[in-house]
Symmetry: C2
Subunit: 221 residues, 2 copies
DNA sequence: CGTCGGTTTGAATATACTCAAAGCCCGTGG
DNA sequence: CCACGGGCTTTGAGTATATTCAAACCGACG
C-alpha cells in the first residue's frame, strides 16, 4: 500500500481505525461518474475497472486497479465529483476512508500527502504516454501496449506464459486502446493464430512476451 | 500561484528566497525529455509548450503553460527524469527551485504538498478527458476542444472575439489533437470561411465562441 | 527581392469503422 | 445430462474518414 508507506506503526493503526471494509461481488458498481465524491478506496483483493463516459455515451477504460492500489482518491481533492465510474471485475475486497478522515490523516501525517504526489505523478505520466500512443500509433501497436500494461500490472506466470489474471472482453480492450471491439477481435485472432497469445474464457495469456513487445515498439507483425 | 496558496507571509518569503529567476527568449528549450530532473519551474510571464516524443520521433503537445502555472514539477517526485521537453513560445520569465529546496519547503510547509495534490489531480482529470476525446470523437470535434481549452487558458477578449494570445502553428494544433497539420489546415480554413474564427500570423481568434462549442459538443458543423 | 517557414489544396490511398449475420462457449434450468 | 439462451466473438463486405505525398502559395523578414 504505497500511500501509507513510511508511516510509523502508530500512524498505520490510526489509519486502519477509521477505514471501512467492503466485500463486493463481481460486476458491482462502487461509484458512478458524477457522484458526489465521499470516500477514497484502496483495493485489497480482486480487480476494479475505472471507466469514463462522455455526454453521448461513448466509454473508455481509464485504468484497471490491481490489489494494493488506490482509486476514487483524486476527486476528494479537486471538484468533489467522481470523474469516472468504478466497477468490480471479480469478487473483491476494498477499504475506504471518508473525506474528513482522509484530510485529517493527511494533515496529521504529511508523509501521506507526499506519497500521494508520487502516485499521482506516476499516473499522470502513464496517461500522457497513452495519450501520445493513441495520437500517433497504429491500432495494432496500441493493443499490444494495452496488453503489456495489463500483464505488468496483473500478470501471473503460468506454464503457458504470462496470464492476465482478470476477465477481459474484446470490448474492454477496445475501450483501453481507442478502437472498436471488431478490430480488437481481428487482431487478437491473428495473434492467436500466429501463436503469440492464447485467449480463452475472457483470459488472455501472452505466450511470446518479447514478440508482443516487438509489435508494441516497431509495429512489426 | 496556486502551489503556494494559503501560505503565511513568512513561508512565502522563505520560498522566494531560494527561487532562481530565468529570463528567456522565444523558442528556448528549458529542458529536454530524458534530462535528469533538477528543478521545478513556475511561469511568471510568457508561454511554454510541453511536448513529448516517442522513440521514433512522433511528437505530441502535452500542454501549454500559461503564467501562474507550474511545470517540470512532477518529475522531481517520480523517476527524476523529465518525461517531456519544455520550450518557450514567446519571451518569458520563470522562477525555479532545486529539488532539495522544494522537498525542504514541502516538508516544512505541508500545505504546499496538499496544494500540489490538487494541481496534479486536476491535470490528471484533464488528460483523461483528452484521452477519451481522442479515443472516441472525430478530428473536427477534437480540434474544437483544443481551441476551447487554449482560449480558456490564454484567451484575451478583443473587439473581434476571443484571441488565443500565443503563437500557434497548424502543426502544434495537430499535435494537441492527434491529427496531421493538413487536416487541421483544411478544417480551420473551412471554419474561417464560415466566419467562426479568424487566423492571422499564427494567432487564432474565436469570433463565434458558442458555435465552436457546438462543434465540440455535437460534432455539428 | 529572395528566402524560408508556414499554409493551402488536390488526388490517391490506407486504415480502421460500420453494420449485419453467424458461430461459439458457458452456465443454467429443465 | 442434455438442451437452451445469452453474452461474447468472429468474419465478411462495403465505406467513411482522415492520411500521405506532392506541389504551389503566401507573407514576413532580412
Amino acid at each position: 500500500m504505497e500511500l501509507f508507506q513510511g508511516l510509523s506503526p502508530v500512524a498505520l493503526a490510526d489509519t486502519m481505525l477509521c477505514a471501512r471494509t467492503h466485500e463486493l461481488r463481481a460486476e458491482t458498481r462502487i461509484f458512478y461518474q458524477g457522484d458526489r465524491a465521499g470516500r477514497a478506496y484502496a483495493l485489497i483483493e480482486g480487480g476494479v475497472r475505472i471507466s469514463q463516459s462522455g455526454s453521448d455515451g461513448e466509454q473508455v477504460v481509464i485504468r484497471f486497479v490491481a490489489p494494493g492500489e488506490m482509486f476514487g482518491t483524486v476527486a476528494l481533492f479537486t471538484d468533489r465529483r467522481y470523474p469516472a465510474e468504478a466497477v468490480t471485475l471479480t469478487q473483491s475486497v476494498a477499504l475506504s476512508w471518508s473525506e474528513a478522515d482522509m484530510s485529517e490523516l493527511m494533515t496529521r501525517y504529511p508523509r501521506i500527502a507526499i506519497n500521494l504526489v508520487g502516485i499521482l505523478g506516476r499516473r499522470l505520466q502513464e496517461v500522457q504516454e497513452r495519450f501520445r500512443e493513441i495520437a500517433t500509433q497504429s491500432v495494432e501497436r496500441r493493443i499490444a501496449h494495452a496488453l503489456l500494461r495489463l500483464a505488468e500490472k496483473a500478470g501471473e506466470s503460468t506454464g503457458q506464459g504470462t496470464e492476465i489474471d482478470f476477465p477481459l472482453t474484446r470490448k474492454h480492450v477496445a475501450e483501453m486502446s481507442g478502437t472498436t471491439l471488431y478490430t480488437v477481435s481481428r487482431i487478437l485472432t491473428r495473434w492467436e493464430k500466429s501463436g503469440w497469445i492464447v485467449t480463452s474464457n475472457q483470459r488472455v495469456t501472452l505466450r511470446d512476451f518479447s514478440r508482443v513487445m516487438r509489435i508494441a515498439e516497431d509495429g512489426v507483425d
